[in-house]
Subunit: 606 residues, 2 copies
């Protein structure tokens, strides 16, 4: 059976050495960060290991059940949610005035990672809850805030995000749910699908954030408003009143994340509509949603990383125990643990190198989120905001795509035992597959990266990043550690290739947008591979310095070996990706739709 | 819901134009091949579509049940198996003297593909059955042949292959089951796991081919013998007698292929041992198994192709129906079918190009199997045998690895609908995951390719293939079709890179075997990418000739566009793979096992 252990050593290293938590602690409001850091990581690790992990596999097996609108979560989930709330984990980034602890985003990196590594089905509750809290905190009026935020933070109630409709998935412009004004509130009608924890038995009330259209609202994205629609109406004194007209019509039978219900919610099915309250201004719902999306996309990126890490550590355990075949380098015919075999080492290193690059990039991006919000110097804020905007689609898209490959490789280490559900690794493989889909598919992330981030500022923010990486590659050049020095050339080459490819996309966007977008997903992965390598190599450089200074920690040696593997086995993809994008994009858009049908026709002469 | 349609046009093209079915029909015994070809494809397509496909999704959902040693298959499977047998499909490649049709291996390509595309859970029965028939036909004495082969071919009984034991997965040298002589038979004791259709309710008898050790047999691979162990003993008159002592102790709960039971079989649990009959000579069981393995590995490669094709065609259907977002090339704000979007086209083309390359390579390899068996000229037989030996691990390894990526990409086209089981695409994603594991993991295929095929003859067979490809690339050079001409350079470059890399591996194998094997799986994929491109480009060249000759078939235009996509978006990986193998292999084997643990340690100072 699989168990989760938080990668505390690497988390601490990335937080302290790469993401600069000490600097974050100098930002106004974050002064206590370093004082509480160790305690938070230790407590989170304990909570993840002792409370969430034990109900991970059982939650997957049991799943959720629906019965006439009532959804029952797996055994232990209700209790775990209360324990989670009571420990104060919901309020970690929420302002103290609403009952939170007001800690920086940077700390969300490791804590989110631990919840998701230990139990992704459970973690999806707090993840969406966080979005609802943020939406209300940022955009609702004070009265609404006072009613809803404290109880969402305390965990007494929970929140959801209701965006998707059958005809409106990635394309939210197609939202059709309606909101009709009635006194101080609105009447909401429509159907929302794929709503995570849209109905459950963990809290007595559920606060839905719902996108809907007001009468006469403009078509498309500019006519969508955001509403609070509680499952149970709240009386003036804050107590629970009547049931609102929102009903769960069913839950999905999914490939994974079985422990969290994915609900179809019908609003206003049996009357004038469910009662809802407008958040912020009319017709600005999608705009609000986009602001929150950075956090949600970051979170799903980390979710991918977390599941991948769980799969990897399980594969390491298995590879140490499973005995098959003799050692190719030895004359002894006795079979050895498969971790001794080069192919298994390759698979484990592939996982390790990707995971450490992913973690470094995610946490560094989280630190930038904090600077973007809190730096006192406006220029610093602006600079980090630009970096965050650029990196969020990469963190969401690349981390999750990568995570799926890592989980598949980890499963492969198990051989036949990987395919049976008993070992648990199959669950990670099934669970992780959703991460490239929800909160915007990788295709949507890539469109965002190219269309909104790269092209909009004519590549200015991207170019800045490429210059930073090239500058760092020069620093590697002068390392006294031969292995670290050898990282310079691959990073320089890859960064140049990425910069050239970005320019090629920019040039083509001025001509044929379709051609510029044709290989947008490979471009996003390209960006991730280079940016992840950059951060991993920063770690290798620091590790070499520590070793040179006499710190005899195998963690540092391993960091350099991991970076070396990444340089030759992962980063080298640049040579292929550039060719693919530059030479291959025209071919993607050539041809008609009919070409996908021809192979299934009978031969004319037959 | 997903439905399967056989890719008849492409199958016919590959059989006739690439694999040269007309030439195969000149081999002794295969004279009727071309006469029956169309009828067989049409009938197989009808059978796959009308009998197997309708119980594919229901079979997955229902799964198999175990109750005190009795296994029940999903609704309709028993009837389908009888219909399958009655239609003569089991005996397709079996000699007429045993009730078969004696058709070439080449025809197994499309028929196997159709069974597996329509219903992989079902198809696993005949696939293993085929192995059992072949083993008995090739190695057992006449008496055993007469008792078992006709009833296996008629489908009255069914067969299994019992190799794996808990401690002997990939490493069959560790087999511990025992066989003790007793008169004209043996008493078998031991446990076999992961036995496909090891117990079921489709036929009254099941014939197990079992690997076990005789008393005093040498250790390792040279002390394993093969036995026939029927579930029900057969009386002298061929009627069924007493139950043999083999019992199904349970079935696995798997991620996919739920319609076929995967059984734990206990032999001789309650007495002196199950009665078994020696096949061929003592201690040569593994050698026999290896001869049959070519066919089994070929079949699993085709299985991967088949599942990938089903996933792809389903994605095409969905992409034509699903409306989201406006066309980036148009000013019309109306949302369009997602097949219009460049990223979706890229995904569909990725699937199409890979699938057509995979199919071409598989069928061409099957044709070589026929030459290797039946050519009258010994040199021709030898030449094709060498080609087959080289290509089997590639067909098994590359096709199945590729198939998993294709299924994942196809699922991605569905967005959120891909993750719910309702659409059916999730089943392909779960089903296909086994194909890189059973009949030898990709790691085992890669070891075979490098260790047994590449290194053993000092690269002679591989070099021959590279020369053939280079020669063909030169022919492309002189094509009058500009697109086809443009395929020459990428193929030349990729083949040169592959040849250089092969040489690098050969050189290193003389020094450090571990280094030579470190990137064996990437090398196998490299080989597949180039060989698949070669065969796909052969198709493109022929298509161009047909078009030039005035045949106005969109299938040909699409073939050239598909090859062009492959050249730039898939074949270009050579630039990365060569670097990875040559520069990255040392890093794979550097470091100790401890390096995979360090990230989970707490920080010393914390």
């Amino acid at each position: 059976m699989s168990t989760y252990r938080a990668p505390l050593r690497d988390m601490q290293f990335v937080l302290r050495e790469l993401a600069g938590v000490e600097e974050i602690a100098k930002l106004p409001g974050y002064e206590e960060t370093t004082d509480v850091l160790d305690a938070i990581l230790d407590e989170a690790s304990t909570f993840a290991t002792e409370v969430l992990d034990p109900i991970n596999q059982s939650g997957d097996r049991e799943g959720c059940t629906w019965n006439d609108g009532v959804v029952t979560t797996p055994k232990g989930f209700k209790e775990a949610y209360h324990a989670f709330a009571q420990a104060g984990w919901i309020g970690l980034p929420v302002l103290p005035e609403y009952g939170g602890q007001g800690l920086p985003q940077l700390l969300l990196g490791p804590t989110l990672e631990m919840w998701n590594g230990a139990n992704v089905g459970f973690a999806n509750g707090p993840l969406l809850n966080q979005g609802a809290i943020e939406a209300i905190e940022l955009y609702a009026n004070d009265a609404l805030k006072q009613v809803y935020v404290p109880k969402l933070v305390s965990g007494e109630w929970s929140g959801t995000m209701c965006l998707t409709e059958p005809q409106a998935g990635s394309d939210l412009a197609q939202v059709r749910s309606t909101a009709t004004p009635e006194g101080d509130h609105y009447r909401i009608k429509g159907q929302k699908i794929f709503i995570t924890f849209g109905e459950h038995d963990m809290t007595p009330n559920i606060i839905h954030l719902v996108l809907a259209r007001l009468p006469g609202a403009p078509e498309g994205t500019k006519g969508i408003s955001m509403f609070i629609v509680p499952k149970v109406l709240v009386n003036a004194d804050g107590s629970l009143g009547e049931r609102n007209d929102v009903k769960c019509a069913g839950i999905e039978h999914k490939m994974g994340i079985n422990a969290n219900p994915t609900c179809t919610l019908n609003y206003g099915e049996s009357g004038n509509g469910a009662i809802g309250y407008l958040v912020g201004e009319a017709n600005r719902g999608l705009e609000y949603m986009f602001v929150m999306m950075n956090a949600a996309r970051f979170s799903v990126g980390v979710q991918g990383l977390a599941i991948a890490d769980r799969a990897y550590q399980h594969a390491v355990e298995y590879a140490k125990e499973r005995i098959q075949f003799r050692d190719a380098a030895s004359r002894d015919p006795k079979p050895v643990a498969i971790i001794k075999h080069p192919d298994v080492r390759r698979m484990l290193l592939f996982c390790k190198a990707n995971i450490e690059a992913m973690r470094a990039l995610a946490y560094v991006t989280a630190a930038s989120l904090d600077y973007a919000h809190k730096a006192t110097d406006e220029n610093v804020r602006k600079e980090h905001k630009a970096f965050v905007e650029l990196m969020i689609p990469v963190v969401k898209g690349w981390l999750t795509e990568n995570a799926q490959t890592v989980c598949s490789v980890a499963l492969q280490v198990f051989g036949g035992m990987g395919y049976v559900e008993e070992t648990g690794i199959a669950q990670q493989y099934r669970d992780v597959r959703i991460t490239t889909i929800y909160e915007g598919t990788t295709g949507i992330q890539a469109l965002d990266l190219i269309g909104r981030k790269l092209i909009r500022d004519m590549g200015a923010s991207a170019t800045k990043v490429f210059k930073q990486i090239s500058k760092f590659a020069k620093e590697l050049e002068s390392s006294e550690n031969a292995e670290v020095k050898a990282l310079a050339q691959p990073l320089t080459d890859a960064t140049k290739a990425l910069a050239d490819t970005s320019q090629w996309i920019g040039m083509n966007a001025m001509g044929d947008l379709r051609k510029a977008f044709a290989n947008s997903v490979p471009f996003l992965n390209f960006f991730g591979i280079v940016a992840g390598g950059w951060q991993l190599f920063r770690g290798a450089k620091i590790a070499a310095e520590k070793l040179a200074a006499g710190e005899n920690d195998p963690y540092y040696t391993a960091k350099i070996q991991t970076a070396t593997f990444y340089a030759h086995n992962i980063l080298t993809q640049y040579a292929y990706l550039q060719k693919q994008i530059v030479d291959g994009s025209a071919g993607v858009i050539a041809g008609d739709d009919e070409m996908f049908e021809v192979e299934r026709r009978a031969l004319a002469t037959a």
